[in-house]
Structure formats: C-alpha cells, structure tokens
C-alpha cells in the first residue's frame, strides 16, 4: 500500500519536474554567469581551471561554507561516537604481511599524489577537496593494513584548525589589502598555467587539502576506533 502511494506521489513529482524541465533544454547555452566566468576568469583570477576559479574565488564563500560543513560533520561524528559505552573487545584478524607492507610502501606515495592534486587545483581538475580525499585514502589504507597505527589526534586537530584558520585569515587579509573585500584575490596572479599563479587560490586549496585530509583521516580514525 505504501509502495503504491509512494509511486503515485513520486509520479506527481515527476510530472511537475518534467513540466519544469521543458524550459531547460539539455545542452543549451544559457548561462550568463557561467559565460562571464569562462570569458573573464583567466584574467580575474589567474587560474586556468575555471571550475577552481569559481570554487575558490568567485564562489569562495561557498567553499568556506563547504569546508565548514565537512568540519562540522567530522566534529559531529566524533561527538556522536565519543559517547559510546564500553563494550566487549572483538577479535580482529590482522592484515597479511603483503598488505601490511604494501600499505606502508604506498602511504607516502599516495600522500604525495594527494598533495599534487591540491597543489595543482588551479591548473588541473581537482583541488583541495579531492586532494584531501586522496590523502585521507592513504590513511584508510594505513588503517586497513596496519591496524595498530593511529594518527595523533592532536596533530590532526592542529592541522585541521590551521587549515581552516589559513582560509579565514587569507580571506580577512583581503579586507585590509584587497580593496576591502573578504576573500579578494589580492596576490599576484602570475603567468597562466604556471604553478605559481592564481593568487590566493593555491594557498586556499592547499589549506583545504590539509584540512580535508586531516578531517577525513580523523573521521576514519573515529570509525576505526568505534569498530574495535
């Protein structure tokens, strides 16, 4: 019965949305804001990846919020899992030597790759979040392969905090020097497509990369702890 009602309601939704979508033909060029970014983004922000220029600069405030959302979720998860009660210890199968060794071998390499991604956020697809996720995956691998090893909570918290603070401070400096605008791109834009370009964008993306990486690692840490 519920399924039938649900199907009916969903079909009404589908009807409405289909009607609305009629006005938005797929693939048609219609976006004045988007065109503006593609046309002006290169000079205004110095990033050759326009998505990054949008993410970090034009809509940098969103990104600040986004970083915060992740931060909130990480803390929230920590808070939720922190109040657990004591429970019986579970027998955990240790990883095989191959995995153990492989993970340790790969760990620095993946970290480097993560760093590559967030350092090149303004040039190639990717950026702080993606790089951070890759960094975190390195930690996942460590947890999978070598259980005993835990990241220092203090260190991860510190990195997290510093990452967030760098974002805010870089933004606030804009109030003083960047024409009085929060998050304005007041640093030299550099030469397009070179690593040292796009002003504050790489700085912010690096901060985000660190922050996201340590946050996700912290999340994983909490989950691992929970499963023990």
């Amino acid at each position: 019965m519920r399924a039938i009602i649900s199907l009916f309601l969903i079909s009404v939704l589908a009807w409405g949305i289909a009607t609305a979508l009629n006005e938005i033909p797929f693939g048609a060029a219609k976006t004045k804001v988007g065109e503006y970014y593609i046309g002006r983004g290169k000079e205004q922000t110095g990033a050759s990846n326009i998505v990054t220029s949008v993410v970090v600069n034009y809509r940098g405030f969103d990104t600040l919020g986004e970083v915060t959302v992740l931060f909130v979720a990480a803390i929230g998860l920590g808070a939720v899992l922190a109040t657990r009660r004591k429970k019986e210890k579970r027998d955990v199968e240790p990883a095989s030597l191959v995995l153990y060794t492989g993970c340790r071998l790969l760990f620095p390499l993946i970290l480097l790759f993560g760093a590559y991604i967030f350092i090149h956020g303004h040039l190639t697809p990717g950026g702080g979040f993606q790089g951070g996720a890759v960094v975190a995956s390195a930690f996942v691998l460590v947890y999978l392969g070598c259980r005993g090893r835990r990241i220092s909570e203090t260190a991860s918290k510190t990195v997290e905090s510093l990452g967030g603070l760098v974002f805010i401070v870089v933004g606030l400096v804009g109030l003083a020097v960047g024409g009085g605008y929060f998050l304005s791109n007041y640093l030299p834009k550099g030469e397009l497509n070179s690593l040292f370009s796009a002003g504050i964008i790489p700085i912010i993306y690096i901060a985000i990369g660190f922050k996201v990486g340590s946050e996700l690692a912290g999340v994983i840490d909490h989950l691992v702890e929970e499963s023990e």
Binding site: A95, V140, L144
Partner: protein, 86 residues
C-alpha cells in the same frame, strides 16, 4: 590510431567489463563479487586512459590514477571486511 581501431578496442573493453558485471551479479560468494569488481576496476582504469587518448584529454590520466587508487583502497577495505579485519 584510427577511429575504427579505437572503437574496436573500446568495444572489447566494454564487453570485458560486462563479463565482470555478470560475475559480480552471479556471485555466488561475496569474494567472487569482489574479484569481479577488482578485475573490472583494473579494466576501467585502462579504459579511462584509452578514452583520454581517444578524446585527447590529458586530464583523464589523473582521473585514471585517482580511480585506480580509490578502487584499490575500496577493494582492500572490502577484503578486510570479509576477513573480519575491520
């Protein structure tokens, strides 16, 4: 590389992926499915690189690298789960 060859290559890979999918659906055990996924992801990595070549987009290489990394981590996680390691 001519268009035809590219299409043929891609088609073969697609069929291969499809075969893995079949195994994944049939199982019968969880490790069977994991093996299927493992094979499939490796094939997909190769496919991504090849697609990048076909479309002339360098960025596909990065995508392939990230994909293989995540697939690896994911599979190890599945494996560890199956052997009650997490």
């Amino acid at each position: 590389m001519s268009q035809t060859i590219a299409v043929v290559f891609l088609a073969i890979m697609a069929i291969g992926i499809f075969l893995c999918l079949l195994r994944m659906l049939r199982g019968p055990t969880a490790p069977d499915r994991a093996v299927a996924v493992d094979t499939m992801t490796t094939t997909v990595v190769a496919l991504l690189v090849l697609l990048g070549f076909v479309f002339k987009r360098y960025v596909y290489l990065d995508v392939a690298l990230v994909y293989s990394l995540l697939a690896f981590v994911g599979l190890v996680a599945i494996a560890r789960f199956l052997e009650r390691g997490i």
